[in-house]
């Protein structure tokens, strides 16, 4: 137990901060994923075949290639790509992006592919009459979506989004390979310096279980909130 003490003697405070880091990366990645989904879901549902194709390539490639490979692509290729873009604007110095940004982006793109599929599914399962009724009421396009489609979509999407959240949370453990100090990396460091890997990795597992357990509780509440009236 003294291994988990806070302060200089134990790893308690380090692991606590690492847990917050895992949460921060997961939430950032999830939000990045939502913005990707906001772009690609309309493309998926578009009437134009070429737009469908772009969105399909995105979701198929990301869901068919291991997360670790995507992370390596961003880890090794991320700063190169940014430097390339910067050089087009005449900036030629070396740019290093930090592990948090690379990691959240890599996981965000993965999570975005899953979210896109979830949103597509939930929009498609809304009754056609709802779209027509919204149109007939003479609402603006924005209001049609914001006031009528979105609330119904969220109700259908939340159970599946909670799966996406679980996947995203667990995927963040892979960012440890880039050196970002989240739960996994911190446990690796602690295990290395105390020579007690069994304890620290098991503790990491408990932390992840705690995170998934607590977030499920929270999501269940949301689910109840959004299914009022059903």
């Amino acid at each position: 137990m003294e291994l988990l003490a806070f302060g200089d003697t134990g790893w308690g405070d380090e692991l606590f901060r690492a847990t917050l880091m895992t949460l921060a990366v997961s939430i950032t990645a999830m939000l990045i994923g939502f913005s990707f989904a906001a772009i690609f879901t309309p493309l998926k549902l578009s009437k134009f075949k070429s737009l469908n194709l772009i969105a399909n390539i995105y979701t198929t490639v990301i869901r068919g290639v291991p997360e670790l490979l995507v992370i390596y692509l961003f880890f090794f290729g991320g700063s190169g790509a940014i430097m390339f873009v910067a050089s087009m604007f005449g900036y030629n110095e070396y740019i290093e992006i930090n592990a948090f940004v690379t990691g959240s982006f890599a996981i965000g793109i993965i999570s975005g592919a899953y979210s896109t599929e979830v949103f597509r599914g939930s929009i498609q399962s809304i009754d056609k009459g709802q779209f027509e009724a919204a149109k007939v009421l003479g609402l603006s396009k924005f209001k049609q979506f914001y006031k009528i489609i979105l609330p119904q979509m969220l109700r259908l999407a939340i159970p599946n989004l909670s799966n996406v959240w679980q996947i995203t949370l667990k995927d963040t453990s892979l960012i440890s390979v880039t050196g970002l100090v989240e739960i996994m990396r911190q446990s690796y460091i602690a295990a290395g310096s105390t020579r007690d890997p069994l304890f620290f990795y098991s503790f990491a597992a408990i932390l992840y279980l705690l995170l998934t357990f607590l977030s499920m509780k929270l999501i269940n509440k949301l689910e109840i909130k959004y299914s009022r009236g059903y």
Binding site: V65, P66, L68, L69, F76, G80, R195, L198, A204, A205
Partner: protein, 224 residues
């Protein structure tokens, strides 16, 4: 774009694909047995037994695969007692540690898939078997299991693909699988995009094959 590198790295990556496929197939076979066992335990009326099976699947589905591999590979070796048993022959090899972790992980997901398949079998089918005077053992093997397998094909196909992606984590415990070799080539040539296209292409090809095989099986064993 360095096409020469892409062509040169292709055979190396293809060789590594064999390792990936070996990891995948062995852990799927072992995982299927674990999954079937725990699905049956989940349906047991004894509260202790089905809680135990639920706990197993909850823990393995709620923690990242990476933690599971690290606990087995780095953690178990720490227990002095294990080092003196025959188990150490297996546990000192990263290859077997990875397979144990993968099999336990996919077993947890498979048990959930099979459990829900068993639960959706209509009671009428079992009753029909009983009224024909078939013993409950034969009803289970000849009626419930085939129907459950058919029911769970689509979900199990997804699980195979997820597991295929999961085998990439073997590279974190020094196994040179497809991702391991890809990372090695990236870190020696600093050409991530080219290598990603080739390695990712191989993964996508495998996904494509698995997807279509499952689709074919679904059609072949459909009820209509």
């Amino acid at each position: 774009m360095d096409f020469e590198l892409m062509i040169n790295s292709f055979p190396k990556l293809l060789n590594a694909t064999v390792v990936t496929l070996k990891l995948l197939s062995v852990s799927l076979i072992v995982g299927l047995f674990i999954g079937l066992l725990f699905a049956i335990l989940r349906l047991n009326k004894n509260d202790f037994i089905n809680k135990f099976a639920y706990g197993y699947s909850y823990v393995f589905r709620g923690t990242p695969l990476l933690v599971q591999i690290f606990i087995i590979y780095f953690g178990l070796g720490q227990i002095e007692y294990l080092r003196s048993t025959f188990l150490w022959v297996i546990l000192k090899e990263p290859y077997w540690c990875a397979i144990i972790a993968f099999a336990l992980n996919t077993g947890a997901y498979t048990s959930e898939i099979l459990r829900s398949a068993f639960q959706t079998i209509k009671p009428g089918i079992i009753e029909a078997g009983q009224s024909l005077g078939i013993s409950s053992k034969i009803i289970f093997y000849k009626i419930q299991i085939p129907i459950a397998i058919r029911q769970s094909l689509p979900a199990y196909g997804n699980e195979i693909i997820l597991m295929m992606k999961g085998t990439s984590l073997a590279s974190t415990v020094t196994i040179m699988d497809l991702t391991g070799v890809a990372k090695y080539i990236i870190s020696t040539t600093f050409k991530p995009i080219e290598v990603f296209i080739v390695a990712g292409g191989i993964y996508l090809f495998m996904t494509f094959i698995i997807h279509n095989v499952i689709k074919f099986l679904e059609k072949k064993y459909s009820f209509n």
